[in-house]
Symmetry: none
Subunit: 188 residues, 2 copies
DNA sequence: TCCATCTGTCCAATATAATGGAATTTTCCG
DNA sequence: CGGAAAATTCCATTATATTGGACAGATGGA
């Protein structure tokens, strides 16, 4: 049994179903939005196939998400208690950007992420990553510059910013010390 | 021509090739690491196929990435800013319980609160406090015992618990050191 | 220069994904 | 409770992904 693939297939099934239900869409509704057949979506939601990237990007687009945004939601957990030692960590080798998925669950609307951004580094996320979510960013240490759409914000340690409607957003650490911040978001 | 899919296929091709080259791997090397055939990887890198999720998760794993992490590389946020110095703080004189309202806004559904619970102290909130909200609790330091309805949870530093339906909840610090935790909540 | 090895692409076969429409199940309303 | 409508699943077919091994070209060392 290939646990890596089976786990992914199951999580994808749950997430596609959850996103569809949250929008009050039928299979036919989503099929039309995504230009993918009802039968395919039904098989995906019942974990009967491993869909191609072409199908997934269309589904993500229908949900107003990027492919990466969809997969970030897929890779959360159903458990209510997320132990520190089991929280997924991802590091970008190029920038040193370190991201800890503190809590994410398809059955809970709140999500928490802890990020460490090294000196002089930045990350940019497209507006589509923010569709149907509302987000806060709280700086634990260091300084963070957030450019959201046209608005620029300088956040010092302890400051917290609430985001508005979806817009392309850049997080930049323009100082010589690492910046640590928390992202709290709610899915609508 | 489906631009969304074509663009994704081309970006995937470039990224898989780049990640492989950066590691100095041949097609055979990556095929072995990922348990995917050389021919498949060759076709992916030449944008000749749209790979399945099963294949992509194996490739991501071979590169020591999550699927979402891989896709992030393939692809590229009212007073809305709450300054640390202006965040309301409330201390209970009897228990020493210290609560900082990091972020709260009528026009933003997410709320963040930082709590410091002294040793051997506890707070109990009725179920009605949780109506129409969904909440997470993330322990920054110390240990926290949460009794939610009939369920009891022991949280160590770094652990995070997602709450279920409204129930009377007790937060208790049964240790001899202060406990600091963050509450993230979303209003529905 | 030649040969062995490595690397990437091609090929035919197999496995699986995706589909349109039919069939079945579920839901809702009178 | 029954029937209509909506939603989901099934089916047979087509399209495409994946594969092991063959093949062609590149590379490096004797």
């Amino acid at each position: 049994m290939d646990i890596l693939v089976d786990d992914l297939t199951r999580r994808l099934a749950q997430r596609i179903r959850l996103e569809r239900d949250q929008r009050g869409w039928s299979l036919a509704d989503l099929a039309k939005q995504a230009d993918v057949s009802k039968a395919t979506i039904s098989k995906i939601e019942r974990a009967e196939v491993s869909p191609t990237a072409a199908v997934l990007v269309r589904l993500a687009s229908a949900f107003d998400l990027t492919f990466a945004g969809l997969m970030l939601r897929v890779e959360g957990s159903n458990e209510r208690l997320a132990r520190a030692g089991k929280q997924p960590i991802w590091r970008d080798p190029e920038t040193g950007y370190l991201r800890r998925q503190v809590f994410s669950s398809p059955v809970h609307p709140v999500e928490l992420v802890r990020v460490e951004l090294p000196p002089k580094q930045s990350v940019t996320l497209p507006a589509s990553s923010y569709a149907h979510i509302r987000q806060l960013v709280w700086v634990l240490s260091g300084s963070l510059t957030i450019t959201e759409g046209g608005a620029r914000h300088e956040l010092a340690s302890g400051d917290c910013l609430g985001f508005g409607p979806p817009a392309e957003t850049t997080f930049a650490n323009e100082t010589n010390a690492a910046c640590t911040y928390v992202v709290a978001l709610a899915r609508s």
